[in-house]
C-alpha cells in the first residue's frame, strides 16, 4: 500500500502545476491531467496497486512518482527520516564558521536599524585574541574548512581588526592546509579594492551590500554622514567588481519603496555583475530600536503579494531567484555546533540577530564556550530536534526547508527558542519561491518552453 508523501507541496503554475518534494528537493513539472489524478490519489489514499494503476495508467508516470518519493509506502515515517537526516548533518558539521563583529559602530543612520547603542570598536588586542580563539576552535574540531565572516555595525570602519584577524587565520590556514571562505557584510560606502584583496587573500569572498532603491529613496532610508551614500556605493561596486567572488545586493523592502523596485532593478542591471544575487527582504520592527518603524513595515497579509511582484520582476530581468527551496534539515546556521560570532568585547554569540542581548551570550574569548547541557549554546544546537519532537510543525510540507524558522524570533515572541517561528500568514512566499526557482531552472536550460508558458 502507498500514500502521498507528507512533504509534497503543490504550486499552481498556469494551467499546470509544480510539485516540490521537501525530503529530496526535487521540483517537478506536473500537467493539469496529472494534478487531477494526484488530487484523486490524495482523496482516496491509501492506495493499493490496482488503484495506482488506474489513477496513473502510464508506467513511466508511476515510476517517476515512486522514484521521486511523491508516493511512499504506507508505513514510511517522514518525521523519523527528517530527525535522522538532521542528526547526521549536525554530527557531520565539518567546518568552523566564525563571524567577527569587528565593530557595532556605523557611519549610516538607517531609518529601520534594529541595532541599539554602539559600544566601542574591537581593539587590535581583542582582534588577536578573537582570531586565536577561532583558530583554537577550528583545531579542536579538527576542521578542514573555515568560513570567516566580517560584519558589524559597518565592519570597514575597523580595517585594523580585519587586518589582524586575516593575519592570524592566514597562518592557521597555511599550517593546517585549511580551506577558507570569507564574507563581508557591508553598507558599501567604505568598500575598497585594497580591503577586498586583503580579505580575499584568505579565500574566495562573498560580499553583501545594500541599496534600498532609487537614489533619493535610498539616501532617505540609509543616510550617510556627510555624503550621498547611493552614489558612493554604486561607484564602489563599479570599482571593486573584479575583487568580489559572489555579490549579493540586499534590498530592504516595505511600503515606502516597494513600488520603485522593478525600475530600480532594471537600472541596476547595467551596473551589477550578471550573476549578482538579490536578497529582497521585508523590514521588520522586532527590536526596541526599530519599534518606531512598525507602520512602514508590511502587514502580514501584504508580504506575499508584494514580494511575489518584485521577485517576478527580478526574474524577468535575469536575476537568479533570491532563495532555493533546498531541504537543509536545519533552521539556520546558528544551530550548527561549529558556528559562533565574536563581538568587539570578546563576547560570543550563536546568532546574528541576538548580538548585544546579554542573555544570548554563549561564552567569551577568555573563558571559552559554555556548553553546559541547559545553556544557551546547547539550546541552539538542540533547538531543531526539540521542534521536531514537539510535533508543533506536523502537517506543514515546508518543514524540511524551514525547520521551525528563526530561533531568536521564537524567543522574542514566546520567550523560548524551541517554539516555532511560523510564517504561515505569508506561506504563499514559500510557494512563490518554488515557482520562481522552477522558472529559473527552465530558463537556464532553455527547454520545456511549454511549461514556462
Amino acid at each position: 500500500m502507498k500514500r502521498i508523501c507528507a512533504f509534497n507541496t503543490i504550486v499552481p503554475n498556469g494551467d499546470a502545476g509544480i510539485i516540490f518534494n521537501g525530503l529530496t528537493g526535487a521540483v517537478l513539472h506536473a500537467s493539469a491531467g496529472l494534478l487531477k489524478s494526484y488530487e484523486l490519489a490524495v482523496k482516496y489514499q491509501p492506495l493499493d496497486q490496482t488503484m495506482i494503476d488506474n489513477l496513473f495508467p502510464d508506467q513511466n508516470i508511476r515510476d517517476t512518482l515512486l522514484r521521486e518519493n511523491l508516493l511512499v509506502p504506507l508505513n514510511f515515517d517522514e518525521y523519523d527520516f527528517i530527525e535522522k537526516a538532521r542528526s547526521i548533518m549536525v554530527t557531520l558539521d565539518l567546518g568552523t564558521n566564525v563571524e567577527f563583529i569587528v565593530t557595532y559602530r556605523c557611519n549610516f543612520r538607517c531609518v529601520y536599524c534594529y541595532a541599539g547603542q554602539a559600544p566601542p570598536h574591537m581593539t587590535g588586542d581583542m582582534a588577536s585574541r578573537a582570531a586565536e580563539f577561532a583558530a583554537d576552535l577550528a583545531k579542536k574540531r579538527n576542521s578542514k574548512a573555515m568560513k570567516i565572516q566580517f560584519i558589524g555595525g559597518e565592519p570597514l570602519l575597523n580595517p585594523e581588526a580585519i587586518s589582524i584577524i586575516c593575519g592570524h587565520i592566514t597562518a592557521l590556514r597555511d599550517e593546517r592546509e585549511l580551506i577558507v571562505k570569507t564574507s563581508l557584510t557591508s553598507n558599501g560606502s567604505l568598500l575598497t579594492r585594497k580591503m577586498l584583496q586583503l580579505i580575499r587573500s584568505l579565500g574566495p569572498v562573498e560580499v553583501q551590500l545594500t541599496l534600498d532603491g532609487p537614489e533619493s529613496i535610498h539616501n532617505n532610508r540609509r543616510p550617510m554622514k556627510n555624503g550621498n551614500s547611493y552614489q558612493t556605493i554604486v561607484n564602489n561596486i563599479k570599482e571593486c567588481t573584479q575583487d568580489i567572488d559572489e555579490l549579493t545586493l540586499r534590498i530592504n523592502v516595505d511600503y515606502e519603496n516597494v513600488e520603485t523596485i522593478p525600475d530600480f532593478l532594471l537600472k541596476m542591471r547595467a551596473i551589477l555583475p550578471h550573476e549578482t544575487c538579490l536578497a529582497m527582504v521585508p523590514t521588520f520592527s522586532h527590536t526596541e530600536a526599530a519599534a518606531h518603524y512598525a507602520n512602514r513595515c508590511f502587514v502580514n497579509k501584504d508580504i506575499a503579494p508584494k514580494l511575489t511582484e518584485i521577485w517576478s520582476a527580478a526574474l524577468s530581468l535575469g536575476y537568479p531567484p533570491s532563495w532555493n527551496p533546498i531541504p537543509t534539515f536545519m533552521s539556520c546556521g546558528a544551530v550548527m555546533p561549529g558556528s559562533i560570532a565574536i563581538d568587539p568585547l570578546g563576547d560570543i554569540y550563536k546568532c546574528a540577530a541576538s548580538y548585544g542581548n546579554k542573555s544570548f551570550i554563549v561564552g567569551t574569548v577568555e573563558k571559552g564556550l559554555d556548553t553546559s547541557p541547559g545553556g544557551v549554546y546547547n539550546q541552539f544546537v538542540n533547538r531543531d530536534k526539540r521542534i521536531l519532537a514537539s510535533g508543533q510543525c506536523r502537517g506543514c510540507s515546508a518543514l524540511p526547508v524551514c525547520m521551525g524558522g528563526c530561533s531568536f524570533r521564537s524567543f522574542r515572541k514566546r520567550g523560548i527558542m524551541h517554539s516555532s517561528d511560523c510564517r504561515h500568514d505569508y506561506r504563499e512566499c514559500f510557494e512563490d519561491f518554488i515557482r520562481q526557482y522552477f522558472k529559473w531552472h527552465l530558463m537556464q536550460k532553455k527547454c520545456h518552453s511549454k511549461a514556462i508558458e
Binding site: A16, I19, L23, T24, G25, A26, V27, L28, H29, A30, S31, A32, G33, L34, K36, S37, L40, Y44, T50, M51, N54, L55, P57, D58, I61, T64, L65, R67, E68, N69, V72, P73, N75, F76, D80, F81, K84, A85, I88, M89, L92, D93, L94, G95, T96, N97, K144, A145, K147, I179, K181, P327, T328, G333, G338, F438, H441, K445, H448, A451
Partner: protein, 87 residues
C-alpha cells in the same frame, strides 16, 4: 465484505472514467536534486554548488577532501532515505 468489494469496484470504475477524460499526463523533474536525479558526488544528497551539510564548504573543496581521504563519508541521505522506504 461483498458490499465493500462492490463499492471498491465502483470506485475504480469511477476513477477510470474520470482519468480517461484528463488531458495527457506529464510529470518531469526540472532540477538536479532528488534520488532519481544527478546525485551529488559526496553523499548523494541534494547539493550542487554548496554542501548543505555545511555552508562553509564548497562542493569542489569537499570533493578534494574526499579524494585526499580526509573526510570520512557519512551514511548518505539518499541511502538513508532508500533504507527507510524499504522498511
Amino acid at each position: 465484505m461483498a458490499d465493500v468489494e462492490i463499492s471498491s469496484q465502483e470506485l475504480l470504475s469511477q476513477i477510470k472514467a474520470l482519468v480517461s477524460k484528463f488531458d495527457k499526463m506529464e510529470l518531469e523533474r526540472v532540477n538536479e536534486f532528488g534520488p532519481g536525479g544527478q546525485v551529488a558526488f559526496c553523499c548523494g544528497c541534494v547539493c550542487v554548488d554548496k554542501c548543505v551539510w555545511n555552508s562553509s564548504v564548497d562542493m569542489k573543496d569537499l570533493r578534494i577532501l574526499v579524494e585526499k581521504g580526509e573526510v570520512e563519508l557519512p551514511q548518505t541521505l539518499n541511502k538513508l532515505l532508500a533504507a527507510e522506504l524499504k522498511k
